[in-house]
């Protein structure tokens, strides 16, 4: 990914900022510009909760080029505490320790 695109998206990614439609009470992450239900384009920016529950997970052994050095790694489908679903990498945990229902929180991880 190019440097300007990291820069443009940094707020949404690092602070988990979603777009919120007040009409539909619906949050979008990845952020979208227009509500996919009602077409409202006056979406507000809201910070998502940084804690959630692991719904399910998998183990990526065939990574994209960008993550070749980190494979294998775990990714999870996470339900944040407000109900928003996100995909994220799971860190500081062994694959054997992973289980559905595990509590997780968003952290920064050092690129090693």
């Amino acid at each position: 990914m190019t440097a300007p695109s990291y820069w443009r998206e940094r707020k949404y990614r690092y602070r988990l900022i979603a777009k919120y439609c007040r009409n539909c009470d619906k949050k979008y992450y990845p952020p979208r510009l227009v509500c996919l239900r009602c077409g409202n384009d006056k979406l507000e920016e809201v910070e998502l909760p940084r804690k959630g529950t692991l719904i399910t997970y998998t183990w990526v052994t065939q990574p994209p080029n960008e993550f070749a050095a980190y494979a294998p790694y775990a990714i999870g489908l996470i339900k944040l505490d407000d109900g928003t679903l996100i995909f994220a990498q799971l860190t500081d945990v062994d694959y054997e320790e992973l289980r559905e229902g595990l509590r997780v929180e968003a952290v920064f991880r050092k690129n090693v």
Partner: protein, 381 residues
């Protein structure tokens, strides 16, 4: 609106073609197609190719292909909608004929994956997702299918051996198919003992690395010479869905449900009228979800007809009679054109696994995890 017919098809073998370029593969399939349609002269060329810009660094591909075929002074264009590129190219060809603007449109699907290194290929194919938010986190299409797989097994208390059976089915079909990539039996035990690709997806539950090209000549009614050979392209329906995270039910492809209701409404066709079905099955778990989304089977029962043997060539609904994505192979931009060519063979009574009395065929194509769905309805004349 003018009626649209398929008057010629041309295939190359799906394989890892180390000694052939995009140009060579295309040339072969187009020569076969031109011969098949008695050398009609196209007045438009539509190329379906998803990854040539990434893998071969080749853009403007349609013009290069036209020059290489010596088909100059004809408009050409390239269509890309990810894995559904082939279906979109057909749709553009359909519109071109239906509008009355063109008489013969040559649709060419071509892809050459073996030129890419494995990790590069995963990056490229992941670019079909929202790159800035999915690939940035290391999420690939395979990992999303793996998550759907786990959700499916849990919600419906299903067994992996039943779902893996879809790969076994594809391989059994491919044995007779000359242009298929992997022509051998693959029992479920071997699939389940193959290495884990993305837990729980096993290696043999995934599509392979494939190169291939397939071409189709679409024509208006006045261009149809041989009625035994030509097939009517009755309708193409298309619909889309939001990405999986926004969906109400991850285990349902709403775009496909929507796409099929268009077929029912406009073509007045029900599932019972269909003589054979081709589905887009990059991973085994896609198959039951597709069959359930079509409304063929109840949720959680997507593999029921398979276990009953009803997807065999003489069953109630023959499925992927030429090996599907797993055994025929999956040269991405060409895949849907292979599916349609194979269906034309069925309707000509020339298929490798001929379905008795095949008059109506339905081809399913999709991008990503049902983000886009297409259905192509074909009828014997």
């Amino acid at each position: 609106m003018n009626e649209v017919y398929i008057t010629g098809i041309g295939l190359t073998k799906v394989s890892e073609h180390w000694n052939k370029s995009l140009k060579h593969l295309t040339y072969e399939s187009v020569q076969n197609c031109l011969k098949d349609c008695n050398y009609k002269k196209p007045d438009l060329i539509v190329v379906s190719n998803a990854l040539g810009g990434f893998i071969q660094y080749q853009e403007s591909l349609s013009n290069l292909i036209a020059e290489n075929l010596s088909l100059n002074k004809i408009p050409n264009l390239r269509i890309e909608t990810g894995e559904a590129s082939g279906a979109s190219a057909l749709m553009v060809g359909y519109m071109a004929i239906a509008s009355g603007m063109f008489k013969n449109v040559l649709i060419i699907g071509v892809e050459k994956i073996s030129d890419a290194l494995p990790h590069q290929f995963i990056s490229y194919v992941s670019s079909f997702l929202d790159y800035e938010y999915f690939v940035y986190n290391g999420i690939t299409p395979a990992s999303i299918f793996a998550i759907l797989y786990k959700l499916y097994l849990k919600r419906y208390n299903a067994k992996q051996e039943n779902i893996a059976q879809f790969a076994s089915h594809d391989h059994k079909m491919a044995i007779n198919v000359e242009h298929a990539q992997y022509r051998f039996n693959l029992p479920v035990e071997r699939i389940l003992s193959s290495p884990i690709l993305v837990d729980p997806i096993r290696l043999f539950e995934s599509y392979p690395v494939s190169d291939g090209a397939a071409s189709i000549m679409l024509s208006s009614k006045d261009q149809v010479e041989n009625k035994d050979y030509s097939v009517k392209l009755e309708m193409i329906s298309a619909s889309t869905d939001v990405n999986v995270l926004y969906r109400e039910d991850m285990l349902l492809f709403a775009s496909l449900r929507d796409s099929f209701s268009q077929i029912r409404k406009h073509a007045k066709i029900e599932l019972k009228d269909i003589d054979f079905l081709e589905i887009y099955d990059p991973y085994t778990i896609a198959s039951p979800i597709i069959l359930e989304s079509l409304g063929l089977l109840n949720k959680g029962e997507g593999y029921k007809l398979l276990l009953e043997g009803q997807h065999e060539k003489d069953g109630d609904l023959p499925l992927n009679t030429h090996g599907g994505l797993k055994a025929r192979g999956h040269p991405i931009g060409a895949t849907t054109l292979y599916q349609v060519c194979e269906s034309v063979l069925q309707l000509r009574d020339k298929a490798y696994n001929q379905v008795p009395n095949a008059y109506i065929g339905l081809v399913h194509s999709m991008n990503n995890i049902g983000d886009q769905s297409f259905l192509i309805l074909l009828k014997r004349l």
